[in-house]
């Protein structure tokens, strides 16, 4: 019997079994950012323990970086202290740091792939739950806590329980105007926000075979919203084409050897899965969240659920809580709900193809009055290429603010925040209460093109109609 990618990578990185039955797992690639690492360096300093493999840790700043200030010190003294701290820690320990002046800074889950640091058949950890993004390359990548960041720095390993593997096939062809974001929102809606607990998700089927790397990353990114700590796609020529020539990718003869090795990690056709789910691509429509968990999602033409139709008391309570926070009424359409803010960015949908896809429809259109619209490229690399292509001009002409790279309004640790109970159409990944910086702020998760449609119309709209999307155009054409 064959093995899944998960089993192969796990076995190649298992160091030994620990007394409590957990595995001591080697973390080949460690990514750090300013929010969850300073305390870990502090713990090492207290104990006098050095960093074991400094060349396998890579750092950037993303969460606290202002997107409209270019120079330090930042006006927010706490943010300023945090960037200085990570800079100091990296210098002290000899860790590569993609600092603001490097031209490579950005959201950690965008920078890793962009630099070719994220590679198939590897283990990747970062003190951030959206580390699952890197699984798009056929890596086992997961978020860890700060004590585990300490463990990786000190030993390049962590203690972990082995996961089960659920294969999720999406077969067929997505309709025009239906995107990777809709696929993952739909998967979470079907399987629930806890459905993935204890599982790694292996995404497969013709939809994933045909997806670009950036689309695969969008889906893997939100595995954690479905409760799965890890999500991955088997590596294939699409993966290798993406990596070829990137700064940290192997070169020359090493490249050929690497491709051969990487291919060997793909799941064997006869391997066993703990669970298999198959979804028809044609059944997925543009999807929007209406509530306060990513699983509270509906197709754009559906009505918001009503508490009285809940299947049990727990669901009834959660619908009621969500409706109250969102100021929505059950059994009414989501279509036409006025919005205040449109946010295009984040590690889910802040990549070049996202910005390109929207720009081709946005040309000549205008953001509605009363809507504040911002676009935040996921990295300096993304913004540089986008600007070379003139995308910034298209966005600015349409009335979007074009910002510097960072996490921005995805979680509002920088100055980009909702105010009061503003309603935001957002291409990010979490709609929890207070997530976008105001305790009473409200978030609707959707694809980038749906965000643009809402921005243009001033209300939740079907992007397929707003932009007359017929045949799916390829972003990179």
């Amino acid at each position: 019997m064959g093995k899944s990618l998960f089993e192969k990578v796990w076995e190649a990185h298992s160091v030994r079994q620990l007394a409590n039955g957990q595995t001591q797992l080697l973390i080949g690639t460690h990514l750090i950012h300013e929010v969850t690492s300073p305390q870990a360096f502090g713990m090492l300093r207290d104990k006098g323990i050095p960093v074991r493999f400094p060349h396998r840790t890579f750092a950037t700043v993303d969460h606290i970086v202002p997107t409209d200030e270019k120079s330090e010190p930042f006006s927010d003294a706490l943010a300023d202290a945090m960037i200085k701290e990570i800079r100091r820690n990296c210098e002290q320990h000899g860790i590569t740091f993609f600092d603001l002046a490097s031209g490579k800074q950005g959201i950690v889950h965008i920078v890793g792939p962009e630099q070719g640091i994220t590679q198939p058949g590897t283990t990747i950890a970062c003190g951030d739950s959206h580390t699952s993004t890197h699984g798009a390359f056929g890596a086992i990548a997961f978020g860890i806590g700060t004590s585990q960041v300490r463990d990786v720095l000190a030993t390049q390993t962590i203690a972990l329980n082995r996961l089960k593997v659920r294969r999720i096939n999406v077969e067929g062809k997505l309709g025009p105007g239906v995107y990777a974001k809709d696929v993952i929102l739909h998967i979470i809606r079907l399987l629930g926000t806890q459905g993935g607990t204890g599982f790694a998700y292996e995404y497969a089927g013709s939809v994933f075979d045909n997806f670009t790397m950036e689309e695969r990353m969008t889906v893997c990114n939100m595995s954690i919203e479905g409760g799965a700590r890890v999500g991955y796609v088997n590596p294939d020529p699409t993966t290798f084409d993406y990596l070829k020539g990137r700064p940290y990718a192997p070169k020359g003869a090493d490249w050929d050897a690497a491709v051969e090795r990487w291919s060997s990690f793909a799941s064997d056709p006869d391997c066993a899965y703990d669970d298999v789910v198959t979804i028809r691509a044609e059944s997925i429509a543009p999807t929007v969240t209406w509530g306060i968990t990513p699983g509270q999602a509906i197709f754009i033409n559906e009505n918001i659920p009503a508490a009285e139709n809940a299947k049990d008391a727990a669901e009834k309570a959660s619908i009621e809580e969500a409706l109250e926070h969102m100021h929505f009424i059950g059994d009414t359409p989501i279509l036409g709900t006025p919005i205040d803010v449109a946010f295009l960015g984040s590690c889910t949908n802040g990549r070049l193809s996202d910005l390109q896809e929207v720009a081709q429809y946005l040309r000549g259109r205008k953001v509605a009055d009363n809507v504040k619209a911002i676009v935040v490229p996921g990295s300096q690399g993304v913004s540089m290429i986008a600007e070379q292509m003139g995308l910034d001009k298209i966005y600015k002409d349409a009335g979007f603010e074009w910002r510097g790279a960072g996490c921005s309004m995805c979680l509002a640790m920088n100055p980009d925040k909702l105010i009061g109970d503003q309603l935001c159409a957002s291409s990010s990944n979490r709609n929890f209460k207070g997530r976008q910086g105001s305790p009473t702020g409200r978030t609707l998760l959707m694809s980038p093109l749906m965000v643009a449609a809402a921005a243009v119309e001033g209300k939740v709209a079907d992007a397929r109609e707003v932009f007359s999307v017929h045949e799916k155009q390829t972003a990179l054409a």
Binding site: T36, H55, G145, T193, T197, G434
Partner: protein, 201 residues
């Protein structure tokens, strides 16, 4: 850092209602602008406890009846959302040693276990009994017996689930794995030598 074994946790308890309580709720992101975890306890559940002006709202965690509680009770899927250890750190620094919930999000469970916070899963019916008891009599002493997987309060005793690995680590005092991981250094080198991408400066 072998720590002292944790065989039982006792204290008064407080109930924070709701399923799917995410880490943004436990500690809003804006309070994560810090380079140490000291002081995070003050911001635990900040947005549900305080008005925008920083005044107390009616909430069990503000209620003097429950002051000094060291066990937190909540609903299903507690701690979902981000991997931030700021959440269990805030819980610990606000004086809690244990959380009793219907279920826990995986990363939160792992982070809490590493810190020595006991995360116990009890059924909806049993938690209802527990909550009713402490709300009627907030001074009730609640004891989580890790060895026998029972929670005792008043005349009641209810069972709870905990991952065997976590239970073992509490009982042996090895819930912080760093020492054991450091001991594996030579085995780590052996694995590293087999992996092409780990080579180099």
């Amino acid at each position: 850092m072998a720590s002292d074994p944790i065989k039982k946790v006792s204290g008064r308890a407080v109930f924070v209602a709701g399923d799917d309580i995410d880490t943004d709720r436990i500690i809003p992101a804006r309070f994560m602008k810090c380079i140490t975890f000291d002081g995070l306890g003050d911001y635990l559940f900040y947005d549900v406890r305080k008005t925008e002006k920083g005044e107390d709202k009616p909430h069990n965690l503000n209620d003097p009846k429950f002051a000094g509680a060291s066990i937190l009770i909540s609903g299903n899927n507690f701690g979902c959302g981000s991997s931030r250890e700021h959440a269990p750190q805030a819980i610990m620094r606000a004086g809690f040693n244990a959380v009793i919930a219907g279920s826990f999000a995986e990363i939160f469970f792992g982070n809490s276990t590493n810190l020595g916070i006991v995360c116990a899963c009890a059924s909806d019916a049993d938690r209802k009994q527990l909550v009713a008891t402490i709300e009627a009599e907030p001074s009730t002493e609640v004891t989580i017996d890790v060895v026998n997987q029972q929670i005792q309060f008043g005349q009641y005793s209810i069972p709870f689930e905990i991952k065997p690995g976590a239970k073992d680590s509490f009982l042996s005092g090895s819930y912080d794995p760093l020492d054991e991981l450091l001991e594996g250094a030579s085995s780590v080198d052996a694995v590293v030598s087999q992996l092409a991408y780990m080579q180099g400066a």
